[in-house]
């Protein structure tokens, strides 16, 4: 367990380089948005050059961080890398600022210190974001050529990268949330890129898609905000209560958003609570997970991601690979010690369902980008389910996030290259035989398809295999619905992944050309596009594990660079996951194997589900390729007949399980109907009741006046009139008028205030 106090091995100069990483795209954005139109070549070289510098810094810093780590021996953790600029570094200086500085509040310990955080996970993620964004920028120079809003596109995608880099580097939840929201905004602008272009023929679809993406992720963001508020207020409350009871030694604490504080305070609470998570922490964890559901497109908030293809293809590559959706998984990685076993079970179940659900839809889509979009959702489901399976799965899921970023970026850019070559034709049924016309694109796409399918020696294998192993391992640790779903659904989803990816390859690149118009125009893309493709394809192959450096361990059983950088035993300093997070998960283990909960490490080392998973994942790979080849390459099985055999089920899947329709019918129509219903209720029932109450009041007033004219008459009349006035005020509900909404809001505020005063 590393000492939390000596956790800043970086010098000030290195921190400054890291700070420059997000600031370069930001500066580029400001220049580009104001002067981009007037720069030579509309400023694309400026943005791409800036991203090249960012890539160099992130990769260099990654190797600096890598140099601080060492390999563990015998299943024990090696030395980890963790740096937080708020702590004094080797030069004795800190590198931080105060957000919302207040001199008095600072004396009371209520400031919000903000700094950078650079740990193994952050280093890996930062390098991935830097690399992928640079190649996406490079690709866009060719792909977006001739676009009307070329300079705006570069400005926006640069700010998008800035948001993701800032999110990865922030050392507290508040800043993570700020960048998170910024990313939501930028995705809105980028998905709706063509909506601002009056000459585009898909202007309406783009406008609808960006609105949908923004609104859908908003639901998740609200959840995250709730979760943050709960963590900020409830952790200190419970902690200080335990301090008062003597269960925790030390001083009382104030609320904090910093990750290190959240981890150590929450785990102190859990340890004081005998390893049980309090209910509110489970709820808060689920709220935080709600943010992931929105951003990482998990069921049921996945509906925005397929529509997000309306944006330009490089944007899809960014969203699907390095930025937007990875942010949700990254958030889970950052908040893992706050997740109780119950919350993890929910996470695993949601992820597993998403993986299978999206994979089935992916088999029926004909849009080349649509297949990739559903495959992203499915792969995200893999990651989330894996994180839900406990600590080993955490590392596996985050590893998959990294490898997936490489090969999915390459896949999307290849799809973009195909679309570009075929004159913006996206329907796979019109393609075919492109292998000879676009050899580089074909080679890159094939490499990445093998990677996503989990072929040994390709990056996706090393992560996906670990995910399935973690799912089996989690299952044998403790049985719950989430683990069960993960270990059953994930292999099936992996099989379907192979099937639909090879279906894509066979339909697009093999066979005879199906549409002569498309075929005549098909050509290989320009050099800057193919360079991006080849670089990303190389990373898609070797980004997970550089196997030729380890010829004796081709399967990566002794760990890869990622497991060396990110180890669940050391990635959260000051937190012993075996005491908190995993204690609930190993209850079943102790029962069955007669081992104590502390022997978790031993367990993971001794019983290795790795080999089971290896067989399963290679098996499903072969099945998927075989079926796809039979149906689409060798044409032995007629896809139409298969479709017919599947019957109703196929129709369901083809219509995406009617989720969009259900959401439309239930949420959107429902809220409209609710509003109308309320209005009707107000106009007919409430008014009637209120008016009659008023009349009764009045009548009572007259009665009283008759009995005691001189005392109560005035008061009762007043009550009657007030009730009538209230009745007429109530009638004004639901008009769509802003001023009235303000009045209602204020009235609500008054009620709350009155309640506060009276109680």
């Amino acid at each position: 367990m590393p000492d939390p106090e000596s956790l800043n091995p970086l010098t000030i100069a290195q921190w400054k380089w890291l700070l420059a990483v997000p600031l370069i795209p930001l500066a580029g954005y400001v220049i580009q948005i104001f002067f981009g139109k007037h720069l030579p070549r509309k400023g694309d070289w400026l943005m791409t050059g800036g991203m090249f510098v960012v890539m160099c810094i992130t990769v260099t810093m990654f190797f600096v961080a890598y140099g601080h780590t060492s390999v563990g021996v015998d299943g024990h953790a090696g030395s980890a890398f963790f740096a937080e600029s708020v702590r004094p570094g080797p030069e004795g200086q800190t590198f931080s600022w105060d957000w919302l500085y207040m001199s008095r509040a600072k004396d009371a310990g209520l400031s919000l210190p903000t700094g950078l955080m650079y740990d193994g996970l952050g280093a890996a993620m930062l390098a991935v974001v830097g690399i992928v964004s640079f190649f996406v920028h490079l690709f866009s120079i060719g792909y977006m050529q001739g676009d009307r809003r070329y300079h705006i596109f570069f400005a926006n995608i640069s700010l998008f990268t800035f948001a993701m880099l800032g999110l990865v580097l922030s050392d507290n939840l508040l800043f993570l949330f700020i960048f998170w929201e910024l990313m939501g905004l930028m995705s809105y602008l980028l998905i709706g890129h063509f909506a601002q272009d009056p000459t585009s023929h898909r202007i309406k679809q783009a406008a609808a898609a960006c609105k949908k993406a923004f609104m859908t992720t908003r639901v998740g963001d609200t959840c995250l905000l709730f979760g943050m508020a709960m963590l900020y207020f409830l952790i200190p409350e419970q902690y200080n209560e335990y301090v008062a009871q003597g269960l925790i030694e030390g001083d009382t604490i104030a609320g904090s958003f910093r990750f290190t504080d959240l981890w150590s305070n929450a785990s102190a609470i859990v340890e004081a609570n005998h390893g049980d998570y309090p209910l509110w922490l489970t709820v808060a964890g689920l709220f935080v997970f709600g943010g992931t559901v929105g951003k990482s497109a998990q069921v049921p908030l996945h509906i925005w991601l397929p529509d997000a293809m309306e944006g330009p293809t490089p944007v899809s590559a960014m969203i699907h690979a390095a930025t937007m959706v990875a942010a949700g998984v990254f958030l889970l990685g950052r908040t893992f010690p706050l997740m109780s076993p119950e919350a993890l079970a929910v996470i695993a179940a949601v992820g597993a369902v998403t993986a299978l659900f999206a994979a089935t839809i992916g088999c029926t889509v004909y849009d080349i980008k649509g297949v990739l979009a559903y495959s992203t959702i499915s792969q995200l489901g893999f990651m989330v389910a894996s994180i839900g399976c406990g600590a080993l799965g955490l590392v596996a899921g985050l590893f998959h996030m990294v490898t997936h970023a490489f090969f999915k970026a390459c896949l999307f850019l290849s799809a973009g290259s195909v679309i570009h070559g075929c004159h913006h034709e996206q329907d796979m049924r019109k393609m075919g035989g492109l292998r000879k016309k676009m050899p580089i694109t074909f080679a890159c796409m094939l490499i990445c398809t093998l990677a996503i399918a989990g072929m040994p020696l390709f990056s996706g294998f090393y992560s996906k295999d670990r995910i399935i192993a973690a799912a089996f391992g989690g299952m044998s640790l403790k049985f719950n619905g989430g683990n069960f779903a993960a270990s059953v659904f994930l292999p099936v989803a992996a099989c379907l992944t192979t099937f639909y990816m090879f279906r894509l390859i066979f339909m697009t690149f093999f066979g005879a050309p199906r549409d002569h118009h498309v075929d005549e125009h098909a050509h290989e893309s320009p050099k800057n596009m193919t360079i991006s493709l080849m670089s990303l394809a190389a990373l898609g192959m070797l980004g997970g594990y550089v196997w030729f450096l380890h010829p004796l361990d081709l399967m990566g059983n002794h760990g890869t660079w990622f497991t060396r950088m990110v180890d669940w035993r050391t990635m959260y300093p000051g937190v012993d996951l075996t005491e908190t997070n995993l204690k609930g998960m190993v209850g079943g283990l102790a029962h069955r194997h007669g081992t104590a909960a502390d022997d978790l490490e031993h367990f993971y080392h001794g019983f290795n589900p790795h080999y089971t998973a290896l067989i399963v994942s290679i098996g499903v790979l072969l099945i998927g390729v075989f079926v796809a080849a039979q149906m689409y390459l060798r044409r032995k099985w007629n896809p139409a007949k298969v479709t017919e055999t599947l019957g109703e089920a196929y129709v369901w899947v083809e219509n995406k399980y009617y989720v969009d329709e259900v959401v439309d019918a239930s949420v959107i129509k429902g809220s409209k109907a609710l509003a109308n219903g309320q209005r009707w209720f107000d106009e007919n029932v409430v008014d009637g009741v209120v008016l009659s109450v008023g009349r009764i009041g009045k009548g009572l007033g007259f009665l009283c006046a008759w009995i005691d004219k001189h005392i109560v008459d005035g008061i009762v009349n007043l009550v009657g009139n007030l009730t009538q006035a209230f009745g007429s005020a109530v009638r004004l509900f639901q008009t769509g008028r802003i001023q009235q909404y303000v009045s209602f809001a204020v009235a609500g505020g008054i009620l709350v205030a009155a309640f506060h005063l009276l109680s």
């Binding site: 008095r104 509040a105 769509g736």
Partner: protein, 100 residues
């Protein structure tokens, strides 16, 4: 003069701002009401700053409020012009597309 006096003025100005937003039928009055509310909170900050032992924090917040008000006035005015362009009216009750 105690702090209560300032706070009562602030409360009254806040209430007048709300009334201004709610009662008038010109969208420019909504803007004016918002300015009143922001000024009410400024008075609060300045008063607490003074009566809580001096210092600078409260004044900084007032400066940020003023900055915010300036930005808000500029953007809101642009919106008002657009609303006028779109609906040919400055009545906030006309702009009820939210109901759709």
């Amino acid at each position: 003069m105690g702090i209560e006096a300032y706070l009562f003025v602030s409360v009254a100005l806040f209430a007048l701002g709300i009334i201004c937003i709610v009662s008038r039928r010109n969208i420019l009055y909504v803007l004016m009401g918002i300015e009143m509310i922001l000024n009410a909170s400024s008075i609060n900050f300045a008063a607490f700053n003074r009566f809580n032992g001096g210092g600078i924090d409260g004044q900084m917040f007032v400066i940020f409020i003023i900055i915010l008000a300036a930005a808000e006035a500029a953007v809101a005015l642009a919106i008002v012009l657009n609303v006028f362009h779109l609906f040919h009216s400055v009545k906030p009750s006309e702009a009820d597309l939210l109901r759709e």
